[in-house]
Symmetry: C2
Subunit: 149 residues, 2 copies
């Protein structure tokens, strides 16, 4: 059983459950996301790859579908601040380091105890569904670069 089958099924079921349509575009975008393995993707990237599978697919559809996949839980939006949206095909708990100079975003696998944080959030009536840590700084490559931007 491939993951592709698994997530396609998950998407199908979830759409039916919501009374939404299972369209070729949605399945194609999910297939693209699936095919990428575990990494970060931009909207443009998905658009380009989805265009190969469904010629004529439009950018607004890609935006809408990525939002949908995030909502379903098949995709996670990375908390970068500003700039282009970045989605993460890894939906399991992990965190990110972002370079202030080159903008690179790299996964960090480390456990962070956010129990107290979540308790605090919940105590104010918040219903959390995603917790991610963003570490900002300068990456190794940029740090090695004299002082250019």
């Amino acid at each position: 059983m491939s993951d592709a089958t698994t997530t396609t099924t998950r998407l199908r079921d979830e759409l039916r459950r919501r009374g939404q349509r299972v369209t070729p575009q949605r399945l194609a975008i999910n297939a693209v996301v699936e095919s990428l393995g575990r990494r970060h993707v931009t909207v443009d990237e998905v658009f380009a790859l989805a265009s190969d599978r469904v010629p004529g697919i439009s950018l607004p559809t890609v935006y809408a579908t990525l939002d949908l996949l995030e909502d379903v839980g098949l995709l996670r939006r990375v908390a970068t601040e500003g700039g282009a949206a970045v989605f993460d095909t890894r939906t399991d708990a992990h965190h990110h380091v972002a370079c202030r100079r080159c903008g690179a975003i790299v996964d960090i696998d480390a456990t962070v105890d956010s129990a107290e944080l979540l308790r605090a959030a919940e105590s104010m009536g918040f219903i959390p569904d995603d917790t991610q840590v963003v570490v900002r700084g300068v990456c190794a490559v940029c740090a090695a670069t004299p002082r250019a931007a």
Copy 2:
């Protein structure tokens, strides 16, 4: 000794140290940030308030100066994902909860042990300078709202 005097001095000293200019615009924007107390601000908000102090100040100058204040450490950029930039006048360690529906961003004061995370980042050559946790979910107000957007 007011905080205003303190941060104005910090800004002045830092600018001199860098060989950059101490301009009325920079001081005014810093004064605006100072006057707001501890809260979140958008670029437009700062622009409007700074315009009262320095009529004719321009938006590009506000952008540049907010970046400068962030660099100096007098301001922190909130890791929202996409949309308008949000700056935090609180520069001490704390975290945020962001509502997916209304976009509200609220401070969370809770300790999070990010030692392992920082070690992992540093082990890959990263030089971290800011760590913030973003909890996404639905706020109390939106959760109470039937199902509208």
